[in-house]
Symmetry: C2
Subunit: 350 residues, 2 copies
């Protein structure tokens, strides 16, 4: 093992690190560097270079969304969900962010020797329920077992495919100055729910993960006929990181009205105690939509009619082409720059 900081001798200089840090999986700046400096240039895929939640690819005469995520969340069960539910909804949501109708999922299990079958059975049943809930089929899978001490009970990978309807083109590069940013509901619940279990915290009101399928919400949005420019679910790194990614990839600057962002009082209180910024806390059932101004009212009304987005709100706008700055304006105080953090505030959140 070499010392940290010797990036000159590193075969692929990844910032100042010679080895993988927890933050490289955190959805922040270090993960972005890993993707930009290693994965994208080495794999050289134009579809991957779009940097969206799922790749839009052409197979035969059809456009298909294709995506994958591994799930390593701790604990395996938490208020409002579990690793199995997350593994289905997370991948379904990534497909939905391309406007695709999610159709089929794969499931790859990496099990640690000694895992009780009772635990595995609960997880697998939860996956089946979640899949049934959002109308996708788990069609192919794989199981590997690693020695005790070489895993952490269970890791799950899901990949998913779905058809992208003709005329639907949803990706960061279509975001334009003038676009309105709509948030589908309150933020911060998933991360706080996980942390409360990890730390053994109890709050007056139980805080549950927002873990949910966004597929029907996206179908609702598309049914308005609006020309949706981009959708992004607010997982690792939360709302602030998602906005930063899109701003950077689209080459635009964003302005957010901080008072318009719904945060449950219990979540806000917990974040204050824990020293977390709710705008950076992971969600598992929230999205932002970038739509041209003329469609904003129509899309907002449609979203509010869907059970997972009844608190949807316009939270900001694309101000200009630019270098990817995201500015949040408070009700009284001065504007603050929402920057990309180096990693996630809470590791292994999904």
């Amino acid at each position: 093992m070499k010392a940290e900081g010797l990036s000159l001798s590193c075969p692929t200089p990844l910032g100042r690190h010679m080895t993988v840090q927890m933050a490289h999986g955190g959805g922040g700046r270090l993960m972005r560097e890993l993707i930009e400096r290693l994965f994208l240039p080495t794999f050289g895929s134009p579809a991957a270079a779009e940097r969206h939640d799922s790749a839009a690819v052409t197979l035969g005469d059809q456009r298909i969304a294709f995506t994958t995520d591994s799930y390593v969340v701790r604990p395996l069960f938490f208020p409002g969900g579990d690793i199995g539910k997350l593994a289905v909804y997370g991948t379904v949501n990534d497909l939905a962010m391309s406007g695709a109708k999610p159709a089929y999922l794969s499931a790859g299990f990496i099990l640690e020797e000694g895992l009780p079958f009772e635990t595995l059975t609960k997880i697998v049943r939860s996956m089946a329920d979640a899949a049934s809930d959002c109308g996708v089929e788990l069609v192919t899978g794989d199981t590997k077992v690693v020695d005790k001490g070489k895993g952490d009970e269970v890791f799950i990978n899901t990949a998913g495919i779905g058809l992208i309807p003709p005329g639907v083109h949803i990706r960061p590069s279509r975001v334009r100055p003038g676009d309105v940013i709509i948030l589908s509901g309150d933020v911060g619940r998933h991360g706080v729910a996980i942390l409360s279990v990890r730390e053994g915290l109890e709050f007056d009101t139980a805080i549950e993960s927002d873990c949910a399928s966004l597929s029907s919400l996206v179908q609702t949005i598309l049914a308005t006929g609006a020309d949706v420019h981009c959708l992004r679910d607010l997982t690792r790194g939360g709302l602030a990181s998602a906005l930063n990614e899109i701003a950077a990839d689209a080459g635009v600057d964003l302005e957010i009205d901080e008072a318009a962002i719904p945060v449950q009082p219990s979540v806000a209180g917990a974040c204050e105690i824990l020293g977390l910024d709710p705008l950076y806390v992971a969600n598992e059932g929230r999205l932002v939509a970038f739509v041209p101004r003329e469609y904003a009212d129509r899309v907002l009304a449609a979203m509010r009619g869907n059970a997972v987005a009844c608190d949807a709100a316009v939270i900001g706008r694309v101000t200009a082409t630019g270098s990817g700055r995201v500015v949040a304006r408070g009700p009284f105080g001065p504007a603050r720059l929402l920057d990309l953090l180096s990693g996630e505030q809470l590791p292994r959140i999904c």
Copy 2:
């Protein structure tokens, strides 16, 4: 943790085990039980119930092969390959077994904190080379990092999709009495290559993994116009396990001519020293094809013209409908029953 053997109180009785054993990932009887008693009934997917290497699904007006595998091989680098090459070829091969032309792959990395970037870079470059070699594109990915001591350097999941040409229907349930079984080359090299590194063994002749793409070979076979009934690559559990699976899923009995199965002398020698049966040792670049007798000569000739199958040979036939018995006839001795082992002789082989 409860005691083993109390299957009466187990919520999903998985044989006599209450917890996951290494053998549940071994490609043998225990893995088959896990799939049949937990995954298939819970997920309830007709496509998965076909029990093939990849699922054949309909998306829009097209038939698509979709598959996934996680790779947890130790060591990460071995003679003839590495985990990255395996992760590409393994999934490409599973797509090819449906007759699909592999098109796109996803890559999900689970990295252990502290992994040197030098190691990761070598693996990612190897994946890119392998993908380029077999004409697939790595289009979407994900990176998770787990705490030091909760993983084992790097686990990789790949999923893949490809188009199944019209008229191609390759699956175990099409296997019929009278079908001829053709093996694409010598067996046992991958497992022995891995074991030789693990155990620090040296042989007179270096034994390299057969790790290779089978995609062009399958295209070659299909180009003959033969009505191929089934294809199966010979990974975990080797040739004997693959034959057992197909025999059971097709409801047929098979007879194999043991003398017709090519095994390199160095591999045969190593297996004898190590107490392994080469017919059960994993391969990563070998397949068996089940074809009606009238196509056998044509398919065999075409296979021998492909670089990865120049030693292809007819090794047996489907004798009758039955309960899935696989009988191997030796040149002199009596016939022996090739049964499914409980697990893989060598854990974490892929």
